[in-house]
Symmetry: C2
Subunit: 245 residues, 2 copies
Amino acid sequence: MRNLKISLQYDGTRYKGWQRQKENSPTIQEKIESVLSKMTGEEIQVIGCGRTDSGVHAENYVANFRTNSNMSIDEMLDYLYEYLPEDIVVKSMKDTTERFHARYNVKSKTYVYRIYNGRFRNVFNRKYTYHTNEKLNLDDMKRASEVLIGTHDFQSFTSLKSNSKSTVRTINYINITENDGMIEVEVNGNGFLWNMVRIIVGTLLEVGVGKINVKDVERILDEKKRAEAGPIAQAKGLCLKSVQY
Amino acid sequence: MRNLKISLQYDGTRYKGWQRQKENSPTIQEKIESVLSKMTGEEIQVIGCGRTDSGVHAENYVANFRTNSNMSIDEMLDYLYEYLPEDIVVKSMKDTTERFHARYNVKSKTYVYRIYNGRFRNVFNRKYTYHTNEKLNLDDMKRASEVLIGTHDFQSFTSLKSNSKSTVRTINYINITENDGMIEVEVNGNGFLWNMVRIIVGTLLEVGVGKINVKDVERILDEKKRAEAGPIAQAKGLCLKSVQY
């Protein structure tokens, strides 16, 4: 049986996130499984590298699936390109080892959160960026982001209700750059809790406008209480940039 | 009476172009006139810098309108931002001389046509670029574009039916650049005939794939017959970048 690793791009605007839902909600996983099943005549299950929330985008989402089909890679890519909706594109595919698992084998993931900081929204990026006209202090945001680098208990930065699983994660880097009003917050870590990147960004935005200061971020991390951190930044600004194996 | 010069940005996807139509079609001009009329209580007529076709975008479209309103510029900008749809943004406004006319006073205009050249479409720019997976010879396209620079009769490059008006125009430059599969064809000229930029790009694309050669472009220009040139490139790739006065 073949085990195929795929890399895909999607505009998450119309979808209820990656993961197939019980009710009949549109999800990326469901769209891809449906086309792959039609293509192979088998009931294909796609293993994704993780969940993405409703409205979140991906530039290079990685997944794998098993099949007995002997179609060539090019035939499969062309089939997917023809039958998937215009906001999902499988960009590459390759036969991989039997053991490869898109979720278990993740070493780290890189997310980028885009903030457009100008008086008015930019119509051309309005679906892929969060817009704010509040003046942001990037230096403070950068200093605050440094507090989060390393291995910490990120309980204050997740919407998880249960305490059963560990909320310790490692953030390898957070890069904040700005170019002509477009601010990108790039976060790389070994794993992320539910809503973690968006709550980190929501907190950094509060730092940026001066509502909380860098010292507060240390305290928020120490308190391990969700209520202490900033709000969840809008989903549309978030994009899974790459996955490292 | 005040004469106000405005600069605006729009995503033309949903619109039947700039110009107000007799039938009830959505156009940019109609949306702006409607909000300005509500704002001022007057019947505002907006003079645009030119028509843009159905589906064409603008980064810096310039227009002007006259009003007796004594609202401040900031109040007017905020009002427009609140009441215009999310795909139209008036970015700036200033009081200008009584004589300023957004169409008559144009010295030149700059359009950019975006072509994404890759095996598959890019989901994030799919509404603002034309996608082709055919291999394009950029050097040939650049050489062909040079044939069009200068003052010529562009009758082969317009959908105009009537011969009553002059079809002589001056193209100041055409810059073709490529970055990671994204090709931009930037065209600056003193004025453009109906569909002229899109027919130029459609012709350059035929050169790019080798269907016609550089010599053919000279002949097409000389023939002064629409049927000789390439097809009209898709509207969604075209964007009015700036207007010079």
